[in-house]
């Protein structure tokens, strides 16, 4: 064979020399296993001269001369280039692009090939994942994007996810620290919009992480940008896809509370403890009940009783996609009906989408339509109440009614946990309509103009009514209604210019955008309805406390932006971005912000010396970037000194009154948190340096990034002394850094002659967050509230420590009987908690070393960071014949949580008479010298709730998802093209030392969800879900 080949080559050489150097090259293009590849594009480099391979992969191409280079390209395979030289036969084995270097990445106002990126951008394509258990777009990113941590403490179906991208980025909580969500080029107002996109409609999600990438989003780029792109119409013919899944949930973790007998005994003993100093309880006041026998009591497992008995959820998707007369179309509908693990929590979503794309001569048009209807049941879920309700109470009494608390008659607000389900109705309905249209026109070759515009209308309606009082002193029926309308307008216009000359390629983009956001609302409430059927149906029938209100608020932003990409020989890549932003929320003196950035990359793999010298690697790229992005996400009116109006009464009537509580955003909430106006308020600025490299071959691909982010002029709400008449001031202050390393390694391993494919992927992120400057000030965080009492702040934000630092006392045990004297120094008695007395304070206010006989602020120590230091994910996909097994591990490490509910679930002084954790049984008594649990005969000591007795490490590892799929593929002309059937389990196994209900909580765990989005305040227990589903294409 070899001989023949050399002979033929020899002949060709002779022949070509004779024919004025023109050469014809032939060959066969195969895949890595030797099978011929049909349809491969073959082009003589720098010309339009080209050809394609036939069914067997054979080709033939005549080129100019021996110095010509032939390029081979094929979708899904790495491009290859070969210089003809002496060869007349060139056989090419193409390498599958497992690294996806040719994939298109959305970079914001444009796209780029992954291999050309200069910034840190992660892409996730749903079709590459086994997305079996996924109900929103955020879940696709969880554990798959380096540097991104999405905590899932809010397990309400339909809950808005909480993102932390490359560490804590803002002093502000809530939306202000969240990344910008962009859906098909439309920047959304908040992250809740991620629920208005059906995961099945998503083509890909790109996460822009560093400022060299996000600066193009200017004042909204500081927390990162998540760009969601929906699927376009199918290029071929009509395709119909249908998928469905059914799932159910079980409680994956429980709180270990006492049973009926233990509970009764515990309170009996406590009431007879001579040291009991809690309220007026004790035998003389009728506490507790006189139990005659401990073991004949009812023993109700309330955590089980409140579980949703109808806990079956379902989802259906149907989509049509195709092309007709040049119009690419896709329409899809989604129905998602999810039940929470605790009744009556529920969420249904109905989503419909249509997308049209059309190209006509030099024009192209597109039209997007998206409608989402969401219905959330917001009735109190009662889980926390169930944990604390007396186990010695039966569910129903002799009459078949829900039992009252068997133990507590006077404090009747300990109502039966199942009662809210009977006594109240609460729901929220959100309708979101998004329509966007765009067109572009090619003015000259390489120069394209485009315009795009759209609106997003979100209508939120909430309804609440109570038919019966929850407890005796709550006498009336009650109803509340509210309607908020949010309208977002968006428009942009751009010019794009592309030019290639020789080895230089230039791409220029410039344009402007306009955004307008308006929120207005109406609300009303009333009490005491004469009939059950009135309530929110007829709120003006209420007799008492008739209240009403309205609000109106508008924000605008205008921007100009430009980008230049320069590419030399495909080896050296440079990107320069610039954005100018103006926004209404900022003070008059600082309306404009400038956000430049640049990035460079060097594709060493394009160098000949690399190809020759390092044949075992196919990709190697170095990149670095620096950029400035901003954060403009602050509420309206913080810069203005405003007066609000509210009638007050005079002598005997009502007159105009004013409130100077401003600046205040008028919403239904009656809480009057007041802000000192700050006319100098301006952007928060983020400077990021990012560098990294990518390396890979057909067996692996890895990307490692290092970043260093300086957050400067942070916007923060600093508490001001209440003595000023205000609570906070929003100001720019201080600086903070986030430094970290992110690594991602994908392996492409084949066994058994390629029949068994194993695709493990590991991601790892490390982040260190430090406040570098705060003008020696301290800002308080993590307020620990129990009912109305503020127990203090577990978070102190100060220089040299992380933003979300948790501080507290060092709990060292319990004062024992033989330590009475030492204890009395601290005003304590045996049975009280003991804390390390580390520092004191002298007369001049200086901190002194060593004990001073008092536990003071100076004795608090740094206990950890509420944000995790490390996060990791391991994905695994194994394919064998028609089977696919995938599993996904997630790990979150060094994350500190203030488990405040530990104190309330152990101390009887909190809601005396409620059930407590079994841990309380080990309480200190003269005969049980516990070193873990205090005597519990007193109120919760403030120092204890601010100590490491409650502050815990909430690191965890969990098997987040495991699923098994059977894939059936049929012939092209069959009625069904393919059919996938799968079963999966999420949260099958979790390892953590955290004692609370869900290790994935953040900050203070008081078993409540603190984000303001959900009326449903109680946390749901950590759930495990079981899913079966199928997908079919027709």
């Amino acid at each position: 064979m070899k001989k023949t080949l050399s002979f033929i080559t020899f002949l060709f050489l002779l022949f070509s020399a004779a024919r004025s150097q023109q050469l014809t090259v032939t060959g066969v293009v195969t895949d890595e296993h030797g099978a011929g590849l049909p349809g491969v594009n073959i082009v003589e480099k720098g010309t339009t001269n080209g050809s394609t391979t036939d069914v067997e992969g054979n080709y033939s191409l005549t080129v100019k001369n021996s110095s010509s280079t032939i390029q081979f390209s094929f979708v899904g395979y790495l491009d290859d280039e070969i210089q003809v030289g002496d060869l007349t036969r060139i056989d090419v084995k193409m390498v599958e692009d497992l690294m996806r270097l040719d994939d298109v990445v959305v970079v914001g106002y444009g796209t780029a090939k992954k291999s050309d990126l200069t910034g840190a951008i992660a892409s996730v394509k749903p079709k590459d994942l086994n997305a079996s258990g996924i109900s929103n777009a955020a879940q696709m990113l969880q554990g798959r994007v380096t540097g991104l941590y999405i905590n899932s403490h809010n397990q309400n179906p339909g809950a808005t996810p909480d993102f932390v991208l490359r560490g804590a980025s803002s002093f502000q909580t809530g939306e202000a620290g969240q990344p910008l969500i962009v859906i098909d080029g439309f920047p959304m107002e908040n992250t809740a919009s991620i629920n208005t996109i059906n995961p099945n409609d998503i083509e890909q999600i790109d996460v822009l992480k560093d400022a060299s990438a996000t600066a193009i989003y200017g004042s909204r780029g500081a927390n990162g940008v998540i760009i969601i792109t929906t699927k376009q119409g199918n290029q071929k013919g009509l395709q119909v896809d249908y998928s469905t899944r059914l799932f159910t949930q079980t409680q994956a973790r429980r709180i270990d509370v006492m049973n009926g007998g233990e509970y009764a005994r515990f309170y009996y003993d406590l009431a007879h403890d001579p040291n009991l100093q809690v309220g007026t309880w004790g035998p003389e006041n009728g506490y507790p009940h006189h139990f005659t026998a401990w073991d004949t009591l009812d023993n109700t497992d309330w955590q089980n009783e409140v579980l949703n008995t109808n806990n079956y959820s379902q989802e259906h998707n149907l989509s049509l996609s195709g092309v007709r007369e040049g119009v690419k179309y896709r329409a899809a509908a989604n129905y998602y009906d999810a039940k929470g693990i605790i009744a009556p929590t529920a969420y249904t979503r109905l989503n419909a989408l249509a997308r049209l794309d059309y190209e006509f001569r030099k024009f192209s048009f597109n039209l997007d339509f998206n409608f989402t209807n969401e219905l959330k049941n917001n009735t109190s879920n009662s889980y926390e109440r169930a944990v604390g309700f007396s186990p010695s109470t039966s569910v129903y009494d002799a009459n078949g009614d829900l039992s009252p608390h068997a133990f507590e008659s006077i404090r009747s607000w300990f109502y039966n946990p199942l009662f809210p389900g009977e006594a109240e109705e609460a729901f929220q309905e959100i309708n979101t309509t998004r329509i966007a249209a765009g067109m572009s026109y090619e003015i000259l070759p390489g120069l394209r103009a485009s315009v795009k515009g759209g609106f997003n209308q979100i209508n939120e309606e909430s309804f609440y009514q109570r038919f019966e009082p929850f407890y005796d002193s709550q006498t009336e029926t009650e109803a509340y209604i509210s309607a908020y309308s949010n309208r977002q307008l968006y428009g942009d216009a751009f010019l794009n210019y592309t030019k290639q000359f020789g080895n230089h390629k230039i791409l220029v983009m410039a344009g402007g955008t306009y955004q307008n956001y308006r929120r207005r609302g109406l609300w009303s409430s009333a009490m005491d309805f004469p009939y059950v059927n009135l309530g929110y149906y007829n709120i003006d029938a209420g007799l008492l406390e008739r209240e009403m209100g309205s609000s109106w608020n508008e924000k605008r932003q205008v921007s100009g932006l430009a980008r230049i990409n320069y590419d030399y020989k495909n080896k050296y890549l440079v990107t320069v971005n610039y954005r100018l932003d103006g926004a209404t929320v900022f003070g008059d003196n600082s309306k404009w912000g400038h956000f430049p950035s640049f990035g460079v990359a060097y594709r060493i793999d394009q160098e000949d010396f690399f190809r020759d010298g390092v044949p075992f690697l196919t990709a190697l790229k170095l990149k670095a970037g620096y950029g400035i992005a901003g954060n403009a996400n602050i509420p309206s009116f913080r810069t203005q000194n405003l007066i609000d109006f509210n009638p007050v009464h005079e002598g005997n009537g009502v007159t105009n009154g004013i409130l100077w509580v401003s600046p205040v955003t008028r919403e239904g909430d009656s809480q009057r948190t007041t802000y000192l106006p700050n006319p100098d308020l301006h952007w928060e600025t983020t400077y990021t340096f990012n560098s990294g490299f990518e390396v890979g071959n057909e067996k692996f691909y890895t990307e490692i990034n290092y970043y260093h982010t300086n957050h400067d002029q942070l916007i923060l709400d600093r508490q001001v002394p209440a003595e000023t008449g205000f609570n906070y001031i929003t100001l720019n202050k201080g600086a903070m850094t986030n430094q970290g390393v992110e690594a991602k390694i994908d392996f492409f391993l084949d066994f058994l002659n390629h029949e068994l494919k194993w695709r493990p992927g590991i991601i790892f992120s490390y982040n260190k967050n430090i406040i570098t400057d705060l003008d020696d000030d301290q800002i308080l965080g993590f307020a620990v509230w129990i009912d109305r009492t503020l127990y203090g702040y577990a978070g102190i934000k100060q220089e040299g420590y992380p933003l979300n630092a948790v501080w507290g006392y060092d709990f060292t045990g319990i004062w024992q009987a033989d330590e009475t004297e030492e204890a009395s120094v601290y005003g304590a008695e045996p049975g009280d908690p003991k804390f390390a007395d580390i520092h004191g304070i002298d007369e001049d206010g200086n901190i002194t070393e060593g004990p001073d006989g008092q536990i003071t602020e100076e004795d608090k120590m740094f206990l950890g960071d509420a944000n995790p230091e490390f996060t990791a994910g391991i994905t695994n996909q194994l394919n064998y014949k028609n089977w696919e097994l995938s599993f996904f591990w997630e790990g979150v490490f060094n994350k500190t949580v203030v488990n405040a509910s530990k104190a309330t679930l152990v101390y009887p002084s909190y809601n005396y008479g409620t059930n407590k954790m079994r841990l309380a049984l080990d309480r200190w008594t003269a005969t049980n010298p516990s070193d873990e649990v205090p005597s519990l005969t007193k109120s919760i000591p403030e120092n204890l709730i601010l100590s490491d007795w409650v502050v815990e490490d909430a690191s965890f590892i969990r098997l987040r998802d495991i699923s098994l799929t059977y894939k059936l593929n049929f012939k092209e002309d069959a009625k069904i093209k393919n059919l996938h059937i799968y079963a999966s389990v999420s949260n099958l196994w979790t390892y953590t030392k955290y004692t609370g209900i869900n290790p994935d909580v953040w900050g203070v765990d008081d078993m409540e969800i603190d984000d303001n989005n959900d009326a449903n305040d109680d946390m749901l227990p950590f759930a495990r879900s079981y899913t079966i589903g199928l997908k079919a294409s027709f």
């Binding site: 002193s473 205008v558 007159t655 002394p721």
Partner: protein, 482 residues
């Protein structure tokens, strides 16, 4: 190509030009503080709002008067319902009471901020000088009144007298310094406020606003507290000599709805309330605690918290026999230790006890008489002192007392008793007791407290500063013992 560039250049220029307008933050439903203070009506709306803020429902003066003062002695007890828990306060034990944090501190300082805003903004307004001076006088009066309560309940507090350029670290000032401010404020108020007769002529809408006599009485109260007896006595004298006040003949009827308004000859300053539940017309919260006694059908529909705050058997039994004032209390037959219900403020038929329309008498003529009596006793003029006391006793249906039966100490002690009987649940009790019988006050604390031996009973003479306030203002120091 050129055309496009020109068009884009023009468009960009236009965009930048119009941006100033586009980027102006629109305000809907509110108005800028800079633009607001223009007309007389604006200034009047301001001062009326300051009054409303001061008396306001759950956070104003009326509720904390009776909680801190009356529940602080054996006149009142109880107070445990839902989330409003005063038991830590009435028991004087354990965890610090939470109401100073969510109730008193933020609301009282907001009241001061209201007064300060008026004192900052109104002087520059081009309005009628008489109206302006009156409003400024009222703002000084309101500010003094709020500071008086703060210094009494918490000890020396920071002094804030403006709304601009306030530092974010505000140290506590001494009690003396606080009183200097209060005295100066009240003197300005006295010089600028109309007398009662002038106030009446201004119409019903001004009912509840401060008169010259009201601020004189407040200053008398301040002087009494400071032990400046002769100045106190002189001020009482001038209120008496104004001739505009007299004792009502019927003690209980004085608190009835029929006696609200200017036809009540005894009330010098009142916190007026209107029945209703809307946050704008906040009623007298105290009413929610009044008893729904089976024997008293007026209170049949009362809210469930009724009866949660009661008087005590010991106080009920302390009255002299025949004292008509005891009719404001009612001994129920519910078998508890302290079945003494409060009926002094009659049921408001318009409400279920919450947000009742009963007015809350802040200063009464009887207080002037008894303050004068106390000052005269301290100035060693028992004869005239007893003379004033007997006026109050006579109205209560009691025989007069005789100066000869008392020495100075016992007469002062009797004045304390008389004040308790006369003013129960009107927000005087603890202040009176600390002033006239500090030992008795400590005895009361020791009797209730389970931890006074650890922390000392003295610490309970003041309220603890709220945790949140200490955290927000590094200049504050906690009261000793807490």
């Amino acid at each position: 190509m050129k055309k496009i560039l020109v068009i884009s250049a023009i468009a960009t220029f236009f965009m930048m030009y119009s941006c100033d307008e586009v980027l102006k933050e629109d305000v809907y439903g509110q108005i800028s503080n800079e633009e607001f203070w223009q007309t007389e009506a604006d200034a009047v709306a301001g001062i009326k709002s300051a009054y409303a803020e001061t008396r306001g429902g759950w956070q104003g003066l009326s509720v904390w008067q009776f909680v801190v003062e009356d529940l602080g002695t054996d006149i009142g007890t109880g107070g445990y319902f839902s989330t409003y828990d005063y038991s830590n306060y009435t028991n004087w034990s354990g965890t610090n009471p939470d109401f100073p944090g969510w109730g008193i501190w933020p609301a009282f300082w907001q009241s001061i901020n209201y007064a300060n805003t008026i004192l900052d903004r109104v002087p520059g307004m081009e309005i009628d000088e008489a109206v302006k001076n009156r409003i400024l006088g009222e703002a000084h009066g309101i500010r003094a009144m709020v500071y008086f309560h703060l210094v009494n309940w918490f000890g020396g507090v920071p002094e804030i007298t403006t709304t601009t350029e306030i530092p974010l670290e505000l140290p506590r000032q001494t009690v003396e310094s606080n009183y200097t401010l209060i005295e100066a404020d009240l003197k300005i108020a006295i010089d600028n406020l109309p007398s009662k007769s002038e106030l009446i002529n201004l119409g019903e809408a001004d009912y509840g606003r401060l008169s010259k006599q009201a601020v004189q009485s407040l200053l008398a109260r301040v002087y009494l507290q400071l032990g400046r007896w002769s100045e106190c006595s002189e001020l009482c004298e001038s209120v008496i000599n104004s001739g505009q006040y007299s004792l009502e003949t019927d003690y209980l009827n004085m608190f009835s709805f029929a006696k609200e308004g200017y036809n009540n000859s005894e009330v010098i300053w009142v916190l007026p309330f209107i029945a209703g539940s809307s946050p704008t017309v906040d009623g007298l919260v105290l009413q929610v605690y009044c008893y729904r006694a089976p024997e008293k059908s007026d209170f049949d529909n009362y809210y469930d918290w009724s009866g949660d705050i009661r008087s005590t058997t010991s106080f009920y039994e302390s009255f002299e026999s025949g004292d008509l004032r005891r009719e404001g209390l009612f001994r129920s037959s519910d078998g508890t230790t302290d079945p003494i219900m409060l009926l002094k403020y009659p049921a408001d038929p318009a409400t279920d006890g919450r947000y009742s329309g009963n007015d809350y008498p802040f200063i009464r003529y009887a207080d002037i008489l008894l303050m004068k009596a106390e000052a005269l006793t301290q100035l060693d003029d028992p004869e005239n002192a007893v003379n004033e006391i007997n006026k109050v006793r006579a109205r209560a249906g009691l025989a007069g007392i005789n100066a000869a039966d008392f020495d100075k100490e016992s007469l002062l002690h009797h004045i304390l008793q008389e004040r308790r009987w006369e003013f129960y649940f009107e927000g005087h009790a603890k202040r009176d007791m600390v002033r006239l019988d500090p030992e008795g006050m400590l005895e009361h604390i020791k009797a209730q407290s389970s931890d006074w031996e650890t922390y000392g009973a003295e610490r309970y003479l003041l309220l603890p500063l709220p945790t949140g306030a200490l955290a927000a203002n590094p200049g504050l120091e906690q009261n000793p013992g807490f």
